[in-house]
């Protein structure tokens, strides 16, 4: 055994000893909930620091990424969805219901007539990469006002047309939830245009959420329904989103 080999083995042994300890800790539910303290501190401190209206940085046309990386589902590919693609989403309906005074059902044309916002923003994936694009869409605050949120509403849930997984418990449908502070933020929009043309299938056609102060997985694609809810418990596995149900942080501001 040469020296390099020997050093590698010692390092690997030392690593696996401490790693074994970390692995066992990572598997323990108690340790898990203790480590979640980090997320709740981040959430609280960022809420205080950011407030309701601090804006995510906006960029100029020249900063737009040529090949914006699609991620997650890149085509829902159901019979129903494919029919919508064929008809260019002419019959797509966005439902707004749950804890609202006036449940809505709106076509894309009706959404396009509502107050909009256009912004060139950076999309940060939880994996680490970033892409910049120009988004135009209806302000979520305008939709919420039109539907009239009830006092009991605390979150908005976004139900999507794509199924990302086929687990035995049936919770493979994509969904996301945000609180009302984020829902009312001026840059939070339900985007129908990307870089000047309708959002394409890979990026969430015909409607995707833009939540500019958080990571990409919060920005649900293929949105069919927005439901105002008072708790996350009855949705999916109860953690507030497809990825949250799989261990990711609900507050994705970092």
């Amino acid at each position: 055994m040469n020296r390099r080999n020997w050093i590698q083995r010692v390092l690997a042994a030392a690593g696996s000893l401490s790693l074994g300890a970390c692995d066992r800790l990572a598997e323990s539910p108690r340790v898990n909930s203790a480590l979640d303290v980090g997320e709740s501190w981040t959430h609280r401190v960022q809420r205080v620091l950011l407030g309701r209206s601090a804006l995510a940085p906006e960029y100029s046309e020249k900063d737009i990424t040529g090949a914006f990386k699609p991620n997650g589902t890149t085509n829902p590919n159901t019979t129903e969805y494919n029919a919508h693609v064929a008809s260019r989403f002419a019959d797509w309906q966005l439902v707004v219901d749950g804890l609202v005074a006036r449940p809505l059902q709106l076509s894309l044309d009706e959404l396009r007539q509502m107050p909009s916002r256009t912004q060139i923003t950076r999309h940060d994936c939880v994996e680490g990469w970033s892409c910049i694009a120009k988004w135009k869409g209806v302000r979520l605050s305008a939709l919420a006002q039109r539907a009239g949120l009830l006092k009991s509403a605390r979150f908005l849930a976004f139900h999507c047309a794509d199924t990302l997984e086929q687990p035995p418990d049936g919770n493979g449908r994509y969904y996301e939830t945000i609180d009302l502070i984020d829902a009312m933020h001026p840059q939070t929009i339900l985007a129908y245009d990307m870089n000047g043309s309708p959002v394409d299938v890979r990026h969430g056609a015909p409607l995707r959420l833009r939540l500019e102060r958080q990571l990409g997985y919060k920005m649900a694609k293929y949105v069919t329904r927005i439901e105002a809810v008072d708790s996350l418990a009855h949705l999916g596995r109860g953690k507030g989103g497809f990825w949250e149900d799989r261990g990711y942080q609900w507050y994705a501001g970092i």
Partner: protein, 242 residues
């Protein structure tokens, strides 16, 4: 105590506690950081990712870029890697703030870490002595030598804050409140790259730190950072640069 040697109290308890909390945090932060980097093992400069022209690519073959023995957890799990990274980042930052406050308020920064003018004048001699592995003995070992002071200052007030700030610059939430950080580091992807490079610099410091501890007397050094007590020769040793 052997004849001719004296023990002196070198590291007060706040220093020792801060040191060992850091020793706990940094390996976990490094290894959970590599777990996170495994999710997209490419680094870029600028605001966004130019996928066709990464600055560094760690991807090789079908397996993960960084092997399981160097990541936390050992299996591929970005969510758990992030959970550990941010928890230990909080501990690390709170510990660092408390230690920084202690350094300032106790006067230790000026008394123990700031190089004296005499030390700075003899900077060159000190470098030569170090390269020969000649370490101070006797009374001269009561205080840090100039290279030691400068490297501690660079780590404490350069690399470690840089680590935290480049990390915070990657937060889309904080970008809305502290957009100047993006300007300072040249964009989010630049900050991510600098975060990695600074981690490499810290590993380099760790290696040099370990070599120096071994060369200067590992048991004595270890005793001093555990109990606070450091043993030196009573009589004046080899002549040292002031």
């Amino acid at each position: 105590m052997k004849h001719g040697r004296i023990a002196f109290y070198r590291h007060p308890w706040p220093v020792r506690i801060a040191h060992w909390i850091t020793v706990l945090c940094l390996p976990v932060l490094l290894m959970s950081g590599l777990q996170i980097l495994n999710a997209h093992p490419w680094l870029y400069w600028g605001q966004a990712s130019d996928f066709d022209a990464p600055f560094i690519s760690f991807a090789s073959g079908p397996g993960p870029a960084f092997p399981s023995w160097i990541t936390v957890p050992s299996w591929r799990d970005l969510a758990t890697g992030r959970q550990w990274h941010f928890f230990f980042a909080w501990i690390f930052v709170l510990n660092g703030l408390a230690y920084g406050l202690y350094l300032l308020l106790s006067g230790r920064l000026r008394r123990v870490l700031a190089p004296t003018s005499g030390q700075l004048r003899n900077f060159r001699t000190s470098i030569v002595e170090h390269l020969k592995f000649h370490f101070p003995h006797g009374e001269a070992a009561r205080r840090y030598n100039v290279l030691q002071k400068l490297s501690y200052l660079i780590v404490l007030f350069g690399l470690l804050p840089l680590m935290v700030l480049t990390g915070l610059t990657m937060s889309p939430g904080l970008n809305s409140r502290l957009p100047f950080l993006l300007e300072v580091f040249g964009g989010r992807q630049s900050a991510r790259t600098l975060h990695f490079l600074t981690a490499c610099a810290l590993i380099l410091f760790f290696v040099i730190h370990m070599i120096a501890v071994v060369a200067a007397g590992p048991l004595n050094e270890l005793r001093s950072i555990v109990t606070g007590w450091f043993v030196i020769d009573k009589e004046e040793g080899r002549r040292e640069p002031p």
